[in-house]
Amino acid sequence: MSRIKLSIKGAAGVSPLATIDDQKVKLRKNSFGNLEGNFEATEGSVLKIYTWEIISSPLWLLWEFVFFVVSVFGIFDWGRGKYLREIAFEVVLHPRGDDTIVATVLREKGEGSPALGLSCATETEIRENEYVNTAKLKKRRKIVNWLRFVAWLCIIGCAIAIIANFF
């Protein structure tokens, strides 16, 4: 059993989650804005680092509808869609002692481009390392934006009709 320190650099705005053998790794932000966590690993432990967007959920249209209604037709939905990318990173560790794994979030965000750069003394076997669903998320976001636009046209139309009827 080796004690491993995980440090994720450049994670500002990404907020990834990490698991080791499907157990969550508690990540904390340090004074430099990097995420850090500690875990114990054995031979063949699987480390996963990933992000998930609500818009990639199977119920994405329902979620977006709920957000649109609750936020009073999107007026209060301020933090929407700053970062539209999902990271899928999976690596098998073969630790020979305590180590520090430094993972750097890479800037290239195209579909299939590598998501994280890894630096450590531990022998690793990368199974998956890419940005995923980028095209799908962009398409869904476009659909949501169009639906919002149509909804707003309907709202404005109804408002005009009500005002015209009132006066």
Partner: protein, 139 residues
């Protein structure tokens, strides 16, 4: 990622929305609570204009008396409406702030919404304080 985690990520975004609602409602509560003071200030300014011109404003400006009466009536009805609306703004604001605190604290990702949670508590307390203060002043 478990479905529970996914649900919590969605719920946290709802918390962000409720934070925005509580912010706006707190501002509206504050504004409506101060409307009577604004009305009093407006009256004072009008009276000051009359005093400084020793009443000649009524001769210099056509229908100043009508303007005085109409604008005072409008401000009076506006103040009345604002005071009626205040408890609704306050209620929505406090409810939204409480929901924001509850939902934002469910965050599973490493980002913690400490500032938003603290501000939501401040908004809730401030709104309740404004309502109590305005009730005391009215009484």
């Amino acid at each position: 990622m478990t479905s529970g985690d996914r649900l919590r990520i969605g719920v946290v975004r709802l918390g962000n929305i409720f934070f925005g609602i509580s912010l706006v409602c707190t501002i509206l509560t504050l504004f409506t609570a101060f409307t009577p003071f604004l009305f009093a200030l407006y009256l004072l300014v009008l009276i000051f204009i009359v005093l400084i011109t020793i009443g000649t404003i009524f001769v210099m400006v056509d229908d100043f008396g009508g303007f005085f009466t109409n604008s005072t009536e409008f401000m009076g009805s506006f103040t009345e409406t604002a005071l009626v609306a205040m408890p609704y703004f306050a209620g929505i604001g406090v409810a939204a702030a409480v929901l924001a605190v509850l939902l934002l604290s469910l965050e599973v990702r490493p980002k913690k919404h400490v500032a938003k949670i603290v501000l939501s508590v401040v908004f809730a307390v401030l709104t309740v304080a404004i309502v109590i203060f305005s009730r005391l002043v009215v009484q």
